[in-house]
Symmetry: C2
Subunit: 125 residues, 2 copies
DNA sequence: ATAGAATTTGCAACTTAATTGCAAATTTGA
DNA sequence: TCAAATTTGCAATTAAGTTGCAAATTCTAT
């Protein structure tokens, strides 16, 4: 388990633990742990502020969250299915590719997001 | 002007013309042409369906729209300011970099989005 | 030109993700 | 163990985007 999770209290810990397994939306989290949505969103905000989790929005503007743990979960591209709008995590970009990309920005980069869109295998069936 | 715009009627044309100059949100478009927001959104939907414009969402889930005109406006990365959430268009990716990126996806890619985040020059002042 | 069909518009109501105020409940810590 | 600080649930709110419907506009065939 990622060290960052050790000092978290109850609900933040539960959320971070679930996200360490799988990228999830606020609604999916709410279905897994039985607390009010306001609590879910407040905990998500705290975890984002502490940089323990990352947010990825799908094309409908729905936020998905994943653990931000350098060793187990480095920054990686995502694939969004244009049918079901599910988000898939892909393998991490290597440093040469990150470097190549960063040359396109005239401003200092704090974060890079790469998202592919298409139809996932589930929806192709 | 991009050929695609020639056959558009009044409001779709106005919107496409504005977007050929600058990436804009629905609200910004509404401030520029005086029509109901439902009309703005309906026209945006039509233009998206015809693939005359493209949508980029900022981190707040607000859609920004830009002309999708191969010659004048090929697919390119965007920069989002984490302070003002403004979207900037950057220079287009070259084909080698697109190829390198596409190797990360196990699914067939219909679209690639690259977004950098940081603080823009306006907000740094 | 003009009547009828088809399309587009404005308005108001609605949907959905996310946020917020507030009082109650829980946790913390001296 | 009791007061202060934090967290929670509930209900109301915000904001982007959507939709139903009737009125207005545009298109088309004669």
């Amino acid at each position: 388990m990622c060290d960052k999770l050790k000092n978290l209290k109850n609900n933040e810990f539960k959320i971070a633990l679930l996200l360490s397994q799988k990228i999830l939306s606020a609604k999916e989290l709410q279905n897994l742990i039985n607390v009010d949505k306001a609590t879910i969103y407040r905990n998500i905000k705290n975890l984002l502020k502490k940089e323990i989790i990352r947010e990825i929005k799908n094309s409908n503007g729905v936020g998905f969250y994943e653990l931000n743990c350098k060793i187990h979960n480095p920054i990686h591209p995502h694939f969004e299915c244009i049918i079901c709008n599910k988000i898939y995590c892909l393998k991490a970009l290597n440093s040469e590719d990150v470097l190549a990309l960063s040359n396109y920005s005239p401003f200092e980069i704090k974060e890079i997001e790469v998202k592919f869109k298409g139809i996932c295998n589930e929806c192709k069936k």
